[in-house]
Amino acid sequence: MKPRFELFRSTIILITLFWLGLFVLAPHVMVLITSVLSPDPNNLAVWPLNLNSYVNLWDSLYLNVFLDSLYLSLLATGICLLLGYPFAFILSRFSPLLRSILLFMMVVPFWTNSLIRTYAIKLLMGKKGLFNDVLLGVGIIDEPLQILYTEFAVIFGLVYILFPFMVLPLISSFDKLDRSLLEAARDLGANGWHRFWRIIVPLTSPGIIAGCLIVFLPAMGMFYVADLLGGAKNILLGNLIKNQFLVVRDWPFGSALSVSLIVLMALLLWFYFKANQYIQRKGGLDDDTLK
């Protein structure tokens, strides 16, 4: 009798551990191992162990790419937050039905695939594209601007692709915001400005941090956005990693680059949990945004 009782339970536990072990834990460990192997054009990665790949990371060429993509990602994240925060705030005040419809509308463009959408943005930004047409038509400029293949184009593309990922955690933290707290603040004489900065922003800060994390790191990897909109100039870390794996075939160096990204992620997550602890200690918040 007992084995039958346990069968369902054991099965799903086993499936869970098997899948996560094989397709999440093992691959991450393998990347770590690959990063300390030696490159080989035929076998991709071979013995002996060495730290050459990590030494190469400090080459000024790669360091510059790293700093450049850090800068582009930060800027894109900031703009996403500036647009996404009021968007989520306004949505949270709509009726549930209207909110679901608008959120649904935000998801619909995803079905055309982000690469194809990025390609459409490329069309918009060309010398003969809609952006230049409008600017020329209104008379702001006399001859077409070079929009494509600029930093602006890359940031525009990153914001476009990643915007919904900023909005979703923000919406969920606005959902948790207790309306009566705002009423209490109003009752105690806080005006709109104070209510915003002293109640709304602190209480939605878990959503802000989560949204920024979810946008910032992936932004550094968006190689196709840089390829299509940035031309050859503005290379993101993602382009570098992709080239190492699929073109140059230096897997150990590509892995070392990824490990640096993972380390950055770990640092940010550590910051995230510390910040959450701090907020909880300060404000007694119950946060499940990312747990």
């Binding site: 306004i90 463009p109 915007f163 992620m265």
Partner: protein, 265 residues
């Protein structure tokens, strides 16, 4: 006239709507370009040169592109379904059972959620190489299922946490075995979360570029990879048609299918 704050309010709500509309325009601008150009006589999407179904006809004969399109849909549907099933079971295991490595399991799910796509992509590439799995349909499916998993687990888990814990005990108390508790109580109550998870996974899978470009091989091409290879030499206008169709088909799947299902039950 009675003094009223209504005009102020409507100004505020007018501004709000303007902002929402602006953001929506930003999100839909590229979509509009794609849809309009799918009917554009011109080969280059810069100028409108008249309405035409030309590209729809051409697509009909473009076997390679059509195949990539169907491959995309197939992978999205299959991976969404598998990820939903697998993720629901995982959420259940983490929620309901205390087992060795439970903490590690939830940490790993969290790692997948937070890892940038580019990192996930190379981890998949390396493990498929090490396991000797040929890059193609299966590698793509496994990768898509895995990166969709955390979204399913989080959606289902948060609904499970909202349950009255006594419900499951009540079922047990009334003589339900573990599998019956799952089938007769948990599953029906999880329906909204399961539907949402499926939709989210389907969407993420269709949208993905980065992971797919690392884990597909020449034997199995999906739409974004096909389009990416065209970018350098010029993307053919049939892609606009495909983008339009993809959106329409997804809308039909997402809106009509649930309506039909609801009528049945």
């Amino acid at each position: 006239m009675i003094p009223s704050n209504k005009p102020v309010l409507s100004l505020g709500s007018g501004l709000r709507w303007l902002f929402i509309a602006g953001v929506m325009a930003f999100l839909y601008l590229p979509i509009v370009v794609l849809v309009v150009n799918s009917f554009n006589e011109s080969k280059y999407g810069h100028k409108w040169q008249g309405f035409s179904f030309k590209w729809y006809e051409k697509l009909w004969h473009n076997d390679a592109l059509l195949e990539a399109f169907f491959n995309s849909l197939t992978v999205a549907t299959l991976s969404a379904t598998c990820a939903t099933i697998l993720g629901t079971l995982m959420a259940l295991a983490v929620y309901r059972y205390r087992f060795r490595f439970r903490q590690s399991a939830s940490a790993l799910i969290f790692v997948v959620l937070m890892s940038p796509d580019i990192v996930l992509a190379i981890t998949f590439l390396i493990v498929f190489m090490a396991l000797g799995i040929q890059l193609g349909f299966w590698s793509l499916l496994i990768a898509h299922i895995t990166f969709c998993l955390p979204f399913v687990v989080i959606t289902v888990y948060s609904q499970l946490k909202g349950f009255d814990g006594n419900l499951l005990e009540a079922a047990q108390d009334l003589g339900a075995k573990e599998s019956q508790v799952f089938r007769l109580v948990i599953l029906p109550l999880l329906r909204p979360a399961i539907a949402a998870s499926w939709l989210l996974s389907f969407t993420l899978s269709l949208d993905d570029v980065i992971i797919s470009s690392f884990v597909t091989g020449p034997g199995f091409e999906i739409l974004p990879i096909r389009v990416f290879s065209m970018v350098k030499v010029g993307v053919s206008p049939e892609v606009n048609v495909l983008a339009t169709l993809l959106m329409l088909i997804s809308l039909v799947v997402v809106i009509i299918v649930p309506l039909l299902l609801r009528r049945k039950t």
